[in-house]
Amino acid sequence: MKKVNYFCGVLGLLFSAYIWISSAAFPVDKVMKIGPDFFPRLMAVGMIISSLALLINTHLHNSTAAAETISFRDPGIRRAIIIFIGALVYAFAMTYLGFIPSTIIFMMFMMYKLQLKSYGRMFIVSLLTALAVVGAFQGFLDIQLPMGFLENFF
């Protein structure tokens, strides 16, 4: 955890420095005097102080706690990354395919990655979820969901 804390402390300092420097480009408010750069800079100072406190505290105290590292060889991490990419593709696909087909495909994919073996159950759960969401949002609350090529049917 020591290395992680050093890394996070330095990242905090760099982030604060970016906020401080970028806010210099904000226009000066000649009427109000206190312009749009005031609060970001104030918070950047707070972040600098707490980042330094983290670095100093880490240096002074020997932490025996181990940080959970991210290893791409870990099957769990790989599964999470694949599902995250799947979610991104799902969001893109929804625009073209519409909510129902893309949701069925994505949910079945996710259940498959979570080692559910029954394809019938996967399909039924996905279909019922998609229809329930359409019913609740579009039918009851009148919030339009992207329908894609099914727009003419709903």
Partner: protein, 510 residues
Amino acid sequence: MDFGLYLTCLINVLQPHTLLVICLGAIGGILVGALPGLTATMGVALLVPFSFGMSMDVSIGMLLGLYCGAMYGGSIASILIRTPGTPAAAATLLDGYPMGQKGEASRALSMSLWASFIGGLIGCGIMTFLSPQVSVFALKFSPAEYFALAVFGLSIIVSISGNNVIKGLMSGFFGLILCTVGSDPISGFPRYIFGQMELYEGPPFIPTLIGLFAVSEILSGVEKFSIGSTKITEKVTQILPTPADMKRCMVTICKGGLIGTFIGAIPGAGGDIAAFVSYGEAKRSSKTPEKFGTGMIEGVAAAESANNGCSGGAMIPLLSLGVPGDSVTAILLGAFIIHGLQPGPLLYKDHIDVVYMVFASLLISNIAMFIIGACGVKFFAKIIGMDKRMLLPIILVLSLIGSYSMRNSFFDVFLTLAFGVIGYLFQRYGFPLPPILLALILGPMAESNLRRELVISQGSPAIFLQQPIALFLMGLAVISLLMAYVSQRKVAKRVAAAASETETNTTDKK
């Protein structure tokens, strides 16, 4: 107070048709509150057009039923899937979700319902008997007082940071910097939007919340998933809290109801702020504050009683001054105007029957919410026992659609996924998420009121020490910080002493 007229209005509200509409409103409110991405404000706004053709008492009853239902309903998603259904339920997830994970979902849900009911009754009672007096107090809030309230709320960051206060402060400052994204509240200058007009109003609150809490938890659940851990076994199934739990939480609930009512009475300060302040107070006054965040029932009780107490509190400035207490009452103001009434001091003078009708409707709405919610507790708790291989995809789809539904925007969906990754990394490396949430709620209020007050005082910060209420709130913030620090030192000593005692016992046994 004309008790005869009040009773007459109560009997009118108890007519079958009005009662049915209130119940339907409460059911709708619970559903709206429970679905991530839908807020009480949205639900009330959607129902207002339906109230055109209804009589005044029926339409107000329906809207208040939905309001009370939604304030409770938000806790269902918080406890079961770590996604606050409404911003006001954000504090509930701190202890509600861990309780669900320990197989105590129905215990958490039943306490949430009970605390919501009692908190709502307290708010209703104060609204009925003390509206004019409380509204005079609420009117004294200038920008200095609002800033001091925000600082007091932000001081809770230390107490909800868990074991690592420094990382909690870093999370809080990250959240406060995030609040500066979007147009500057005074000059309108766009800050850090990188050409994306969707960020002009700042990072949208609900998608950010869903990403940080729900999506990050789903990613973590997917990573740690194993075939043997597909279900959580529910240990207790109950509809109402046990007498022991009720006794344990009664003081917390009463304090939460009072805190929620008074904060709700301040225009612009809503259930989310009230819930966190009440949670912070419950933790501060607890004998075991270190256990908060791990599944303490008092944490759920404090948050829920405050956010439902807020429903009565927010009605106080609306009825007595015509100033809405929060976004929901702003829409209720529209409902009054549709029916040809103008809330304010003249409403008390010319239409006192309408005022008493609102008091009676809120009372019946709270009771309806309680009965309907109690019927659903066991059903809702069963959701946590579902196979995770099916539950995780359902929650992810609901979360993404909830984010989309706010503005019909895919940008919000991608933002949710991005914050999901940020939340996942924050948690993995020991940075708590609740301080970010608190900062997102209070940051805009803090910045705009700080700058307004500094402009009024021409740059002199001494103005914050010259306003009595602001000074009092600042003092409370300092005391809260000191007490949190002292409490953490005591807890650390207690934990160290317990650890060395265990080590001594182990050595003796050898």
